[in-house]
Structure formats: structure tokens, C-alpha cells
């Protein structure tokens, strides 16, 4: 593929001279030469803005400037800049921010490796008035579910110009969230979306910039909500989008299902008794009672797979609690979690199957609607949620992979721990979720062969999720699906060496690098070397020169 030309779109309005100089300098210092800078002065009254822009244009033929007669706002100015663009791709740069010197070179390199990419984004950080870097945002690869609850791709965004024009450019009705809206529209049609895991954009913290204070642009958050709501309507996702009460940068999707497909809740149990809130309880009875009492979903059955020799009184108690909804399936033979689940699924009738541990307790009425909302979508294969122990600590918020081995993110952290960049609070894609609460469609379960009996105790859920991931479907973590998991927090997972070996042998290719992690993160937390990520050395000279072409 020929080296692409990038049109950098920068609307300018009353930018402090020193800041504007730095922004322009960061573009002119790009190691990649084939770019044009489309500057639109949105009616600035300060004379130095015009003077600086004119001077820059006079010094470099790749810089072009237009002046609007009167201020029209960010969207109008951005659309004017888009109209000036002649490059194959447009890159969005705010008037007070800076690009890393290799930003365009690394994006061009990514494009060469992925010629079908219609949208590319990079990691970013913030700089203060003295040029100090902080708050780096190390992002995952493309995560559509995350994009609906957080504008995480943000800067640097590079979009194929033809697609931007096809979707109508920036929407004037969504000022403040016009970029979120544009990215959503473009990614709905994109053939490929590429993440460049390098800090290539520096977002300057000014008093008026949204980077420095969430309160600075409250209208922008409402515009973001409307952009996502419109996106949900376009793609047919039955959800109402709400702003988070505490952090308006986080959105929540509330399910609004038009139909309730049949759901089978499959729960394997040995009828164990454990202390729950300082009282001994039969776990399966507690679990089923919570489902019956709290679920507002109508169309479901509960399939309990019981070991032989279970106390008949427990069965009677379950029948008394669940009545017609209950189906008992007996399992004989040695302990094999996978085989028990598979037996239960075979005996069930639902379009969606929910694998549930007997030490789970339901907390919210719409928990099944929430999972069905995602599970109904063809491109999604598995849905999981946020599990907390009885004392409120986090037990499960998705599984991450490090060197090919799975681990629970933030396990044992306080219940109000938000996670890196709100990872606990937003919907996300991950490679796996726990089988303690896992919804999947029956056709997907059958297609990938259910849970493998190669893993009778551990990793059967992880293995299942990886099979689903390999089939091209996504795994979703929903933060608003909160359940109690009365798993003993002191329990050792007791994973055998052969289980680790088998897992890595089966999934070496797929799980060696977690696409929903980042090279600068370890188990969801920035590495100690991460603060220096912005300062990574520039590309070697031959690479920098590749694609240099004066416009």
C-alpha cells in the first residue's frame, strides 16, 4: 500500500499564542512527511492567533488556513476543516494539544500492516502548562461495548476520509461529543479498526479544557449520552443510555427488551451448606430463592444438576421455592463440572443458557434482561458481570491474560475501587469471564462443543470463552450486572500444573497477548515504567523516512 497522506484537522479559537506555537511545532516536527494541516480559525478576536496561523502557512506549504468570518463553534469549524482535507485519512488534533514526533509515522506503519483499516487510534496522556506528562491512558484494542459506555479511543483518532464524508462529517447537534458520535458512525461501517498501543497524543490541561475538569463542559457529557443513544438505535441495541451519577464520563445501558426469549439457568450443585452472612445456609436453596424473589424476567426455567446422594429435603425445598420453573437433572459419576453443565444444558430448552454457580445470589430485578440484551446479538457470544464477595470486595470483573495465563482483574480489591480508567464501572470486552455467571446462546454453546471435559475442575470457563472468541464473537463484561458470590475469599484456586500446561498448549496462539490489555499494563494496572511511555525513543531513521512525501 502506498504511504497515505494525512489531513490533520484543527479548529482554532482564541488559543494562547505560546500554546498554539507548541501545537504547530508538534505537527511540523513529525518524522513522517506526507501530511497537511487544515487550520480553521473560528473567528478568534485576538490578533495574534491570525498572525501566528498566517506565519505558519507562509513557512510550510503543507499548512493551510481558513478564517471564518464569525465564530460558529467547534462542529462548524471542524466541518470546514474537513472540507479542506485532501488526504486519504483525517487525523483530529485540538488546537491546544500536541502530537508525539512519530505519531503519523507509527499510524502509517499500522496502516501498512492493516490496509483495510478505516479507523485507527492511539494511546494518549496529558501535559500541563510546564510540559509535564501525566495520566497516560493505555487503551485496549477495539472494544465496541466499552465505546458505548466510555469515549475511550478519543485521541489520537485517524479516520478514512471517504467514510467520514459518507456518514456526513461532524454532527452540529452533538457539539462537545461530535468526535464520539463520528467515531461511532464510522466504526459501524468500518472494515477494520486498529489500535496503536503507543502514547502518541498529548492532551494539554488548561482551565477550560475537558481534560482538566469534568465540570468544565457539562453539556458535552449530555451530548455524549445522546450520541450513544442514537448509535444504539441505529444498530438495534434495545437500551436506554444514562449518565453515571458520580462520573458523567461513564454511561450505563439500561435494557429495554422488546421480547423475552426463553432463558435456561443451569446450576450444578452438590447441595453444600456454607455460612452466608453468618448463618449456615444450603447454597442452592439460597441461590434459587434469590432468583425467584428478585427476577423481573418472566420467561425462564431453572435446571439444577444434582449429584447423586443429595439430601432429598433439599430437593423438596427447591420444589417449594421454584415450583414449575424448576427442573432437576441427576448426575452420576465422579466430579466433573464440565460434564455436569453439559448435561444440564442438554436437558434445558432456552434460547439462552445461563451457567450459574450455586453460591451466587441475585441482587437486582433486571439482571436477566441485562444479559439477554447483549446475548441476543449475533456478534456476542458470552456475557458476564461483576461478582462481589459477601463483604463487598471485588471477586470478578473480567479475566485478563498475562503471558498466556488467565487471572482475575482486581480480585480482592475494595468494592468501590473504580479500576484503571474506570475499568470496573464501564462495559468492556475481555477474553474471558468466570463460569460462576456466564450467559451464552444455545447455538453458540452447541457450535463450540460446550464445556470441554478436558478441564473437569478449573479453566473450563476460560477455555469455553476462548473457543467463543476464536469463533469471532465477543465476550462482554457488564458492570451493572452485580451479583453476590459467596465463594470463600480465602479459598485457594488449587490449579494443578497440568491444567496450566494444557491451557497454554491449547491457547498459546490466541491468548499469548491479551487484546484487551495493553503492553504498559499488568493485570489492569500501569507498569512502573509506564509514566515514561510518552518518552519512548523515536523510530530508527530508515523507518522515519519511509513514506516521506511533501504535499
Amino acid at each position: 500500500m502506498a504511504a497515505p497522506r494525512f489531513s490533520i484537522l484543527t479548529p482554532v479559537y482564541e488559543t494562547p499564542a505560546e500554546v498554539l506555537r507548541k501545537t504547530l511545532r508538534s505537527v511540523r516536527r513529525q518524522s513522517y512527511g506526507d501530511w497537511e494541516l487544515c487550520l480553521v480559525d473560528d473567528g478568534s478576536r485576538q490578533p495574534q492567533v491570525r498572525a501566528l496561523l498566517e506565519k505558519a502557512a507562509a513557512e510550510d506549504a503543507r499548512i493551510r488556513v481558513e478564517h471564518r468570518a464569525q465564530n460558529g463553534g467547534i462542529v462548524e469549524a471542524s466541518n470546514d476543516a474537513l472540507a479542506m482535507a485532501r488526504g486519504e485519512f483525517v487525523a483530529l488534533l485540538d488546537h491546544d494539544d500536541e502530537l508525539h514526533p512519530d505519531a503519523l509515522a507509527l499510524v502509517a506503519e499500522a496502516l501498512e500492516a492493516n490496509p483495510e483499516a478505516d479507523y485507527l487510534y492511539t494511546d494518549e496522556d496529558k501535559i500541563d502548562g510546564r510540559g509535564r506528562h501525566s495520566a497516560a491512558f493505555f487503551k485496549p484494542d477495539w472494544s465496541p461495548e466499552r465505546m458505548r459506555t466510555q469515549m475511550y479511543t478519543c485521541h489520537l483518532s485517524v479516520l478514512r476520509r471517504s467514510l467520514v464524508e459518507e456518514v456526513g462529517g461532524f454532527d452540529p447537534g452533538l457539539a462537545g461529543a461530535q468526535d464520539w458520535d463520528l467515531v461511532l458512525k464510522v466504526t459501524e461501517r468500518a472494515r477494520a479498526i486498529v489500535h496503536v498501543p503507543r502514547v502518541l497524543y498529548h492532551w494539554r490541561m488548561l482551565d477550560s479544557s475537558a481534560a482538566s475538569a469534568a465540570e468544565a463542559k457539562p453539556w458535552a457529557f449530555e451530548a455524549g449520552r445522546r450520541a450513544v443513544q442514537a448509535h444504539c438505535e441505529r444498530i438495534g441495541l434495545p437500551a436506554e443510555v444514562e449518565l453515571d451519577g458520580a462520573d458523567p464520563g461513564v454511561l450505563h445501558l439500561q435494557p429495554k427488551l422488546e421480547r423475552q426469549p426463553p432463558v435456561s439457568i443451569v446450576i450444578p450443585t452438590g447441595g453444600q451448606v456454607r455460612d452466608v452472612r453468618f448463618e449456615p445456609v444450603v447454597l442452592i436453596a439460597n441461590c434459587v430463592r434469590s432468583i425467584i424473589e428478585r427476577s423481573s424476567y418472566e420467561n425462564y426455567e431453572i435446571v439444577v444438576v444434582v449429584d447423586e446422594g443429595i439430601d432429598p429435603e433439599t430437593i423438596e425445598e427447591l420444589r417449594a421455592i421454584a415450583g414449575e420453573r424448576l427442573r432437576i437433572v441427576e448426575f452420576e459419576g465422579e466430579f466433573d463440572f464440565s460434564a455436569k453443565v453439559n448435561r444440564g444444558v442438554v436437558q434445558s430448552r432456552g434460547e439462552h443458557v445461563l451457567l450459574l454457580n450455586d453460591d451466587i445470589e441475585v441482587t437486582a430485578p433486571e439482571w436477566l434482561q441485562r444479559m439477554v440484551m447483549y446475548s441476543e446479538r449475533e456478534e456476542i457470544g458470552v456475557v458476564g458481570g461483576r461478582l462481589v464477595w459477601g463483604d463487598g470486595r471485588l471477586q470478578h470483573v473480567g479475566v485478563s491474560f498475562e503471558n498466556g495465563l488467565p487471572g482475575h482483574l482486581y480480585r480482592g480489591f475494595a468494592g468501590d475501587f473504580p479500576g484503571y480508567m474506570n475499568a470496573v464501572l464501564i462495559a468492556r470486552n475481555c477474553l474471558a469471564v468466570t463460569g460462576a455467571c456466564l450467559m451464552t446462546r444455545r447455538d453458540v454453546f452447541q457450535e463450540v462443543g460446550g464445556l470441554t471435559t478436558e478441564f473437569p475442575v478449573n479453566f473450563n470457563d476460560v477455555d469455553y470463552c476462548l473457543k467463543v472468541h476464536r469463533s469471532g464473537r465477543r465476550i462482554v463484561y457488564d458492570p451493572d450486572l452485580i451479583l453476590y458470590h459467596f465463594e470463600s475469599s480465602s479459598r485457594s484456586p488449587e490449579v494443578e500444573k497440568w491444567e496450566f500446561e494444557l491451557l497454554t498448549e491449547r491457547w498459546r496462539r490466541f491468548a499469548a497477548v491479551d487484546p484487551f490489555g495493553n503492553p504498559n499494563l499488568h493485570r489492569g494496572v500501569p507498569r512502573l515504567s509506564a509514566p515514561l511511555a510518552w518518552a519512548r525513543r523515536r523510530l530508527p531513521r530508515p523507518l522515519r523516512l519511509a513514506g516521506s512525501r511533501r504535499g
Binding site: F278, G390, R393, G412, A414, V525
Partner: protein, 94 residues
């Protein structure tokens, strides 16, 4: 002379009142048990929050320890040098 065994027996009215008292006492005890259990649960949640913070700090200190060990491997004596520098800075401040 009255029969002592007969006279020692409570009258039907007295039996009823003892029974009621016992029931009331049991109800009070049940309520107290529930109150204490609720208190225990809320304390457990408080303890959980503290344990959670501790887990976060543990995670951070494990990362620092791992980094220090890696540096120490490459630069033997690095830990002692840093320790000495910190002590020197502290003594200067005093």
C-alpha cells in the same frame, strides 16, 4: 390444712402470663440477635473495604519489590545506595 403441692401450682392465669412473658422475652432476644447480626454484617463490609484497600497496597508494594529486585540484580548494592541516600536526605532535613 391445704395441700402444699396443690397450693404451689400456679393458677391458670399465672401460667398464661408466664408464657406471654417468655414469648416476649424470646421475641426481644430474636430482635437483639437480628440487630447484632446486622451490625456484624455491616462491620464485615467495613472490614472488607479495609481488606480491599490493603489488597490494593499489597499489589503496589509487590510491584515495587519486584522492580527493586530486578534493579538489584543488574546493579548489586543499588538497594543499599538508595537507602543511604534516603537517610542522608532525611538527616539534612532535620
Amino acid at each position: 390444712m391445704s395441700d402444699p403441692t396443690t397450693s404451689a401450682e400456679p393458677s391458670p392465669g399465672a401460667e398464661e402470663s408466664t408464657d406471654t412473658e417468655l414469648r416476649e422475652k424470646l421475641a426481644r432476644q430474636d430482635a437483639e440477635i437480628l440487630r447484632l447480626r446486622d451490625l456484624l454484617i455491616s462491620k464485615d463490609v467495613e472490614l472488607g473495604a479495609a481488606k480491599g484497600r490493603l489488597a490494593e497496597l499489597d499489589d503496589r508494594s509487590a510491584r515495587l519489590a519486584s522492580l527493586a529486585a530486578r534493579i538489584e540484580n543488574r546493579v548489586p548494592g543499588f538497594g543499599r545506595l538508595v537507602g543511604a541516600a534516603v537517610r542522608a536526605m532525611r538527616s539534612q532535613r532535620r
